[in-house]
Symmetry: D2
Subunit: 139 residues, 4 copies
Amino acid sequence: MPENTIEFRARYAETDQMGVVYHTNYLVWCEMGRTELMRQLGATYAEMERQGVFLAVSRAQIRFRNAARYDDPIRVRTRLTRVRSRGVTFHYVVERAEGRAVLAEAETDLVCVGPGGSPRKLPALLEALLGRALGQQIA
Amino acid sequence: MPENTIEFRARYAETDQMGVVYHTNYLVWCEMGRTELMRQLGATYAEMERQGVFLAVSRAQIRFRNAARYDDPIRVRTRLTRVRSRGVTFHYVVERAEGRAVLAEAETDLVCVGPGGSPRKLPALLEALLGRALGQQIA
Amino acid sequence: MPENTIEFRARYAETDQMGVVYHTNYLVWCEMGRTELMRQLGATYAEMERQGVFLAVSRAQIRFRNAARYDDPIRVRTRLTRVRSRGVTFHYVVERAEGRAVLAEAETDLVCVGPGGSPRKLPALLEALLGRALGQQIA
Amino acid sequence: MPENTIEFRARYAETDQMGVVYHTNYLVWCEMGRTELMRQLGATYAEMERQGVFLAVSRAQIRFRNAARYDDPIRVRTRLTRVRSRGVTFHYVVERAEGRAVLAEAETDLVCVGPGGSPRKLPALLEALLGRALGQQIA
């Protein structure tokens, strides 16, 4: 299953007054992970958008296990888990890079939309590319 | 079931280059909703924190139905749906305030933690207050 | 001099681990202020963008006097202070709404750009509208 | 003069509907730059805070020259330009890492505060460390 790993440090701007990273920022990190996984698979997302193909998040779920703190080295492991004719699903594990404590696990569904926001099918080449990476028959 | 409604406009800072509100900001709006619902129930969250009682999000899930755009009047309807000895659950409907199109539905679990981040029980008074609001026996 | 006042509460998401509002969020609040001042002057910014007229921040400066905290009622007083053929300048005072302590003072220059980001003149009607509001001769 | 360089890619979350990075995010990038410069000088900021020494931004100014776009490789060059008994000043150049177009130039003053937010002097060791790095007599 295609997987990608990114590492970076938690920013001060990402903390809140509880002294830990504010919870929605983990989903921003997930987006960074799928950007890099797409690039690795040959489907650079910035390039896709220039061609009028957008992937909009239609569902997100996330469980928080441990708190990330400012300046912690963070690792996000992203897997493409499903390719459909109209969208894709990614799964994420967010870890502290030192010690590998799991901080959060998340999953997002993305649907393909055109420039105006209306749903469309994944372009055939993209669907084939991702489907092949996933090693699955596309439904 | 205790419910609260807030209204405000989507900020420019909340948009992304897809021309709509970036998806994680809906969860920030949910947090604004539960702040106001807690206040309405008599448990001002800022005051709780000053007394060393914190509520940390342990799970979030959200489905996106329609896109919010810059300057849209937004309404968030927040309901307290469950009170446990160690946490609470809220449910949210995010709507466009004009026309009432549903933009997103979300649910978050929050767990009670102390100043250092370790799990603790809800203070008895708070549990009673929220439980009474919910009109349920607390498990 | 045209002036507008908005009020709202500081969000939890806007705090950082110093226990106060993270500094860049004050500039987001300034943007909310100028959105409302423009609307009050009859130049709704969302509408301007739909017509291909964008205002991009070219310079910002801000002095921080006192810290805003979570849930503080915040007031932003925005004034249009200058209109040029290619841009406008706004001045902001951010206050705690209760007690009126000044939290920050800021100034931003904005330049007019077209859909592709290239500089352009303010549309004549907009320049006239803002110039009249300012009660000044336009250079 | 002590200088540090960091590189990273602009995040999707950092864009706005103008199709470019929202202006306040450049100041977040500046904060990332000074975090790394402090670390390089031997004064890890996370460690300083654990010892009760905080640096709060008291003034920021920034000029925007060119727009950063999603996925652009960004470089921030941070210099420590002044050390006073009660604070420090940093200067930043934000560039596109490919081609080196200058995107923004910024300067921030930071003042030293204690855990409660009240002004205090820089600890003598920190002032000596930064002053030596700067190669200047401290006023």
